[in-house]
């Protein structure tokens, strides 16, 4: 499953080309997919609410805190991760949704 999702991201990543890449994170069934993601500093992660309920996406991780507030079903919320480090991402509404993003140099 993880491999499939990772491969699924490739066309987008290639299309973005050059330095910064885009990565899509799904939220279907109140579950982040993938559950772990490795990106490079400057990459953009698009949190896609492909679920049928409202979500939130936030992190309190040092140097990478963000909060996309309320996210309607069907909407995308892009976040650029500028600094290397580990970012723990949560949904404030659904605490079982947990995602770890490793931002590399």
């Amino acid at each position: 499953m993880k491999l499939g999702l990772a491969l699924g991201l490739l066309p987008l990543a290639v299309a973005a080309g050059a330095q910064a890449e885009d990565h899509v994170v799904s939220q279907k069934g109140a579950r982040f997919a993938p559950l772990e993601l490795s990106v490079h500093a400057g990459d953009r992660v698009i949190f896609r609410n492909d679920d049928d309920i409202t979500h939130n996406v936030f992190s309190k991780s040092e140097g990478a805190a963000f909060n996309v507030k309320l996210q309607d079903p069907g909407s995308d919320s892009p976040v650029v991760f500028e600094r290397p480090g580990v970012v723990d991402v949560r949904c404030a509404i659904h605490p079982k949704m947990k995602l770890r993003i490793v931002v590399k140099e």
Binding site: A30, A33, T54, N56, N67, K69, A92, I93, P95, K96
Partner: protein, 344 residues
Amino acid sequence: MQSRTRSGALVLGACVALLVGAAAKPALDVEPDLEALKAKYRRPASVPHPDDNAPSEARVRLGLTLFFDPRLSGSGVMACATCHNPGLSWADGLERAVGHGMKTLPRRTPTILNVAWAEALFWDGRASSLEEQALGPIASPDEMNQPLEGLVPKLRAIPEYAAQFEEAYPGEGISNATIAKAIASFERTVVSARAPFDAWVEGDESAIGAEAKQGFVVFNGKARCSTCHSGWRLTDDSFHDIGVRGDDRGRGAVLEEIEGVQFAFKTPTLRNVDRRAPYMHDGSEKALEDAVALYDRGGRVRRPSLSREIVPLELTPQESGQLVAFLRTLTSDDAPVAIPRLPR
């Protein structure tokens, strides 16, 4: 797991589409594939626990003893079980909890039924495990008012506790950590017994009445209760502003910067719900019929944080009655709990 969920959703979707085509009704009014729906409510086969606190008979027995011991409070008269009374479905039946010095607290006592599966503890989710939660009410000046620095010395002064801790956690001694772990181990054994609803889910058509069966369809369909009250415990362990009046910001006080969780409280389990009135985090709804009426109106108050899933439902009186009939099938005949002999 994910692929099973997806295929289940596909089957349901196909079924709904077929029925919509046939009857030209709105999707939410259509009776979905009942067996697929029922499967989402099957009880789990085992109780989860963290790797570093596997249950044992000694740990559970110690936790039960601590749970009922009023010496864990500053006054010496309040135990965990004072508010989480097994005779009242592990709550107190009050609108709002009464704490140290008979002070009425802002929120209702939540049941500890089935908390082994909980993702977040307290009405506002500020603890993420039972071990983390257990010491909170003991130390709170408003609740049991026992400063944690004094807790271990108090228990060490009770001779019979030493052997019980040694048997439960060999070599670890009496510490705040082992107190919390023992209480958590006991709490994981507080699991509601099989209810008539469980028997029906597993195929016994005679286990619940026709009105309750129709209520289950309304619960999952027109009333959309299952959006949040999902799974066998009938909770998504998540936080929603459902439009209860008042200025308690709930999870919003824990995550101040996030508008979507202002006035939001954790979705409570609906197991044994008809024995746990009054309802909501502040006991403001007296009966199940009142709770259903709150949702039917789309909340008692409108504000920016109101969950977008909370909208007027336009239930008929018959549908409201069916919902209540269904909710009553979630109550199990739980065995009485023997109060332990406390160490001296």
